[in-house]
């Protein structure tokens, strides 16, 4: 994990006051979990997804027999290096704030001439059927490794998305009364053995956001941020958020903006 000095703000200080009240894990137990996480990261097959994704990015497909190489991810057509670090951001051509996944879909439809139905055929892969989206995302995010997170925050719609993302983060609903903050709102908490980053404060958002998308051992697949949000909502007992919807992009944007300045270190590896 990158050791950085975080800018201390009043908000952060307030968060630090709320120290874990639950039973602390024995120190050696904590170290063993950290060791497990370090060892799975070292032995991660994530790179294979990047390689496969690069092939798919450059593969001519669809009615227009075109590759995605001319896709404009926000830094101009064809520029992939560092592009993910600036997402989500406002795009003039669509008039909305877009995350990586929604932008890739846009490029599949516009550049390759594919139908929305075809482009969204398999947004999440599983052990039996891999997902083109997950490969493509792996490749693109890998091209931002080391780049500092700098999601768009200049356009009015970007500011709106940030504020909406924040409101969605704290919105309690569903049969179990959960919001994102129920699990990711207090320092030092965990579900079972897993530490829960506080995603509404820069340190937690930086740590989590720069290590997603991630190869997830439980799925044997590289999973996207859209998937991460989707599966959180499933476990929150909510209905399903639409892939690439404004709500999911706003939430992503909220976390991306809070992660500002941290160098991107993904794709990561998670349990």
């Amino acid at each position: 994990m990158t050791k950085r000095r975080f800018r201390r703000g009043a908000v952060l200080a307030a968060a630090l006051v709320a120290v874990a009240a639950g039973p602390a894990l024995a120190q050696d137990e904590k170290e063993e979990i950290a060791k497990y996480q370090k060892m799975i990261a070292e032995g991660s097959p994530a790179e294979l997804w990047e390689l496969q994704g690069e092939d798919l990015w450059k593969k001519k497909q669809g009615p227009k027999n075109a590759s995605l190489e001319r896709c404009d991810l926000g830094m101009g057509p064809g520029k992939v290096k560092g592009a993910y670090a600036h997402l989500p951001r406002f795009f003039k051509d669509t008039g909305r704030v877009m995350d990586l996944e929604s932008r890739i879909l846009y490029c599949m439809i516009t550049l390759q001439g594919r139908s929305e139905k075809d482009a969204t055929k398999r947004l999440f892969g599983n052990a039996n059927q891999p997902s083109e989206m997950e490969y493509l995302v792996s490749y693109v995010v890998g091209q931002s490794r080391g780049h500092k997170m700098a999601a768009g925050m200049s356009h009015a719609k970007e500011k709106d998305a940030f504020e909406m993302g924040k409101a969605i983060f704290f919105y309690r609903a569903g049969p179990w009364d959960f919001s994102c903050a129920s699990c990711h709102g207090e320092e030092g908490k965990r579900i079972r053995m897993q530490d829960l980053p506080v995603l509404s404060e820069p340190p937690g958002a930086q740590k989590a956001y720069t290590t997603w998308p991630a190869y997830r051992v439980s799925n044997s697949q590289l999973k996207t941020m859209q998937w991460r949000i989707n599966d959180c909502y499933r476990q929150m007992r909510f209905p399903e958020p639409a892939f690439g919807s404004d709500a999911t992009i706003a939430l992503t944007h909220y976390m991306a903006v809070l992660a500002k300045g941290a160098p991107y270190a993904g794709p990561g590896t998670k349990r």
Binding site: G43, S44, P45, E47, L48, L51, Q52, N126, A127, N128, V217, S220
Partner: protein, 103 residues
């Protein structure tokens, strides 16, 4: 059809650190597929590491190796620029090979 495979080899003092990533389901035969039927056993059984064409490590493995296997080996008597070739053979007779030069 074999998925991608990738190897990296790097000198670490007196030996080369060889890391290899393989795309393989490593099915145990105990998992049920989306149709509810058990997915048949499908796993890598053999792997071979060669240094400049000469076999230096042979592995026999079972379905207990994790899906998308990643191995690290250490090969002595090597130097930067030497060729490392790694290949596998699974229980269905499928194979894949990759090679890299030691950095």
């Amino acid at each position: 059809m074999a998925g991608p495979m990738k190897a990296r080899a790097k000198m670490q003092g007196s030996y080369a650190d060889v890391r290899v990533l393989m795309n393989h389901p490593m099915e145990t035969g105990q998992r049920k597929g989306s149709d509810g039927k058990p997915v048949p056993k499908h796993f890598i059984q053999n792997l071979t590491v060669k240094l400049n064409g000469k076999t230096v490590i042979e592995g026999e493995i079972s379905q207990a190796v994790s899906r998308n296997p990643v191995f690290t080996f250490r090969v002595g008597g090597a130097k930067a620029g030497d060729k490392v070739e790694i290949s596998w053979l699974d229980n269905k007779g499928e194979t894949n090979t990759t090679e890299t030069a030691i950095a």
